[in-house]
């Protein structure tokens, strides 16, 4: 399995990680090696096998749909790189 530069650029965009053009070749090579390595799974017969989504043999617990926490705007914003008037701030998204 070989990933070309355009594919790597596309995945990087999906993952929202900026990649410099000069890094694309190297990265495409590395990722292709990894995908070649995992390709060996295709030789395993998995017909009729259910995908395993959890190792814990348990049903997801349910709780009452009630408020259990909150009212701590200071704690929530404590680590924000930028905050204003009790809100996180971001670059302008609406013109």
């Amino acid at each position: 399995m070989s990933l070309d530069k355009a594919t790597v650029r596309n995945i990087a965009n999906l993952a929202r990680i900026e990649i410099r053009d000069e890094d694309l070749d190297h990265l495409a090579g590395e990722l292709s090696n990894i995908m070649t390595f995992v390709e060996q799974l295709s030789e395993v017969n998995t017909d009729g096998i259910e995908p395993m989504t959890s190792v814990a043999a348990m049903t997801l617990p349910l709780r009452k749909d009630v408020i259990t926490d909150g009212g701590q705007p200071e704690a929530v914003l404590l680590n924000a790189p930028e905050a204003e008037d009790g809100f996180f701030t971001v670059p302008k998204v609406v013109e």
Binding site: M35, T53, P81, P91
Partner: protein
């Protein structure tokens, strides 16, 4: 001072109870050891003042007859556990400066038991690595040295490399680790200490920086089996905040150390002896089998036929979950931010600057295998193979009580060795990953030294939620192995009559 830092957790606990020394004295001795071994780079943040305050409070609790199970015992916390008001980074630049407003469930439980944290221990960035060389805060050095080349700096293993190095170098009595594919067991083996990844669900993941949520599990790292049993007792327990935390009673793990393993069946998987396995590792494994036989257990050859696919399965599932979990690092709510003209540009620049090479690689692989058109071919396929791997273990445990394997294919290697190819580096976890895929408890303990003077570990794997049998067998093996070797002390502590270490 060395006398205090050489004590096991159990000895420290019992001597504190008898009043042979105070928690303040014990803590101060370990703070001295932390300062003396800064060369290892095991800590990202040291918190000596907080530790001494807690030690004073511990001594008062003891006077009042209210000492907890680990009261006054100095430990280290892997910097993947959120600690209230103390920087928590996951060894990543993107979280530099992050001070959580809360404690993780596990670290809060340890605090409630009276344990005293000396600070936050270094690790591979976001726990992704097997050599502790991917940390933004620099590599951790293994305190052990090769006889043939004592100047070479060796890796402590990873990702819990700071934890393993700090425990081995007597800076802390024990430490927390986390294990996704071997991150407690492989560094324990490389540093000559003991560590257990409990059954998935035994310890709450709440407040632990997430890597691969279906695999991540916290566990103790210490210098003896008993110490791991004591500490796991103070880490485990039901937490409604983690939907995969299991609501079952926490047994008295220490009570499992009866020393009697007569009649137990020990599985020896034939697939764990691949072509090219180091002779030294194979020899230690054979020795381990003999120890258990001599103690009255019966070795039984078993087969785990899908073993060879575990690594490839892991390197689809773990990156997939990591790409999803790490989507939260967006420069918005916590950690570092790099400005951009648009929101998307801010995300992309922040994440480019914040993540290291290995983390970026795994996010990209994970994004790819989850992307439209590839999900079934890779991710769903890997989840199916995962079930086959777990089934192998389930069948084996119909006939055996515990499984014995090597922990890692080699002893600790040098910093900078084998880092060129990510896939080669991943081979370190070839014996630990299958256990993780199946969610089973796995313990590593030191069983011998290589010809070059480095520790080699053996792994015991148990049935789900049967850590007790694992501890029981490990205790017998520990006695038989009588592993008394220690890493060289450097720099000399100056506490002996001629300045030598005692």
């Amino acid at each position: 001072m060395r006398t205090l830092t050489n004590l096991t957790l159990a000895e420290g606990r019992d001597k504190l109870a008898k009043g042979e020394f105070t928690a303040v004295e014990l803590t101060a001795a370990h703070i001295g050891a932390v300062e003396a071994r800064r060369d290892l780079n095991a800590f990202i943040v040291e918190t000596p003042e907080l530790a001494l305050e807690e030690a004073k409070a511990s001594d008062l609790r003891r006077q009042a007859g209210q000492a907890g199970a680990m009261d006054g015992l100095p430990i280290g916390i892997k910097d993947l556990f959120c600690t209230k008001g103390v920087q928590t980074t996951a060894a990543s630049h993107i979280l530099e400066g992050f001070k959580p407003p809360y404690d993780s469930f596990v670290s809060a439980k340890l605090k409630a038991a009276g344990a005293i944290s000396l600070g936050k221990l270094n690790l591979d960035e976001f726990a992704m690595g097997s050599s502790n060389q991917t940390s933004y805060f620099g590599a951790v050095e293994n305190p052990w040295k090769r006889i043939s080349d004592p100047k070479a700096k060796l890796v402590p293993g990873g990702s819990s490399g700071g934890s393993a190095a700090a425990v081995a170098a007597r800076m802390v009595m024990a430490a927390t680790g986390t294990d996704t594919g071997g991150s407690i067991r492989q560094p324990a083996a490389f540093c000559g200490i003991t560590g257990i990844k409990p059954t998935y669900g035994r310890c709450s993941r709440w407040g632990i920086v997430a890597f691969a949520s279906s695999l991540d599990q916290a566990g103790p790292m210490a210098r003896t089996v008993r110490d791991c049993a004591i500490m796991l007792g103070s880490m485990a327990g039901f937490d409604p905040k983690d939907s995969t935390s299991v609501n079952m009673a926490v047994p008295d793990f220490e009570a499992a150390l009866t020393g009697d393993i007569r009649g137990l069946k020990i599985g020896i998987p034939k697939e764990y002896r691949p072509v090219g396995l180091s002779d030294e590792v194979a020899k230690v494994w054979d020795q381990g089998i003999e120890w258990l036989r001599a103690a009255g257990a019966t070795p039984v050859e078993i087969t785990l036929p899908h073993t060879k696919y575990a690594l490839a399965t892991y390197y689809i599932i773990a990156p997939a979950e990591c790409s999803s979990n790490l989507a939260r690092y967006d420069g918005l709510r916590f950690g570092q931010r790099v400005a951009g003209k648009t929101l998307d540009e801010m995300y992309a620049k922040t994440r480019a600057a914040g993540f290291g090479a290995e983390v970026r690689r795994r996010i990209l692989i994970g994004t790819y295998v989850l992307s439209a058109g590839y999900y079934d071919a890779y991710y769903a396929k890997a989840q199916k193979v995962r079930r086959l791997i777990a089934e192998d273990f389930r069948k084996a445990f119909e006939t055996v009580d515990v499984i014995l394997t090597p922990t890692a294919p080699t002893a600790a290697f040098g910093q900078g060795e084998g880092t060129d190819d990510p896939v080669t580096m991943w081979l370190n976890d070839i014996f630990t990953i299958p256990t993780s895929m199946a969610g089973l408890p796995g313990l590593s303990l030191p069983a011998g030294l290589s010809a070059d003077g480095l520790p080699l570990g053996l792994q015991l794997i148990g049935r789900p939620f049967d850590e007790e049998t694992v501890f029981k067998v490990a205790g017998v093996m520990e006695t038989a192995a009588n592993f008394t070797a220690r890493p060289p002390q450097h720099p000399p502590c100056g506490c002996g009559p001629k300045g030598e270490c005692v």
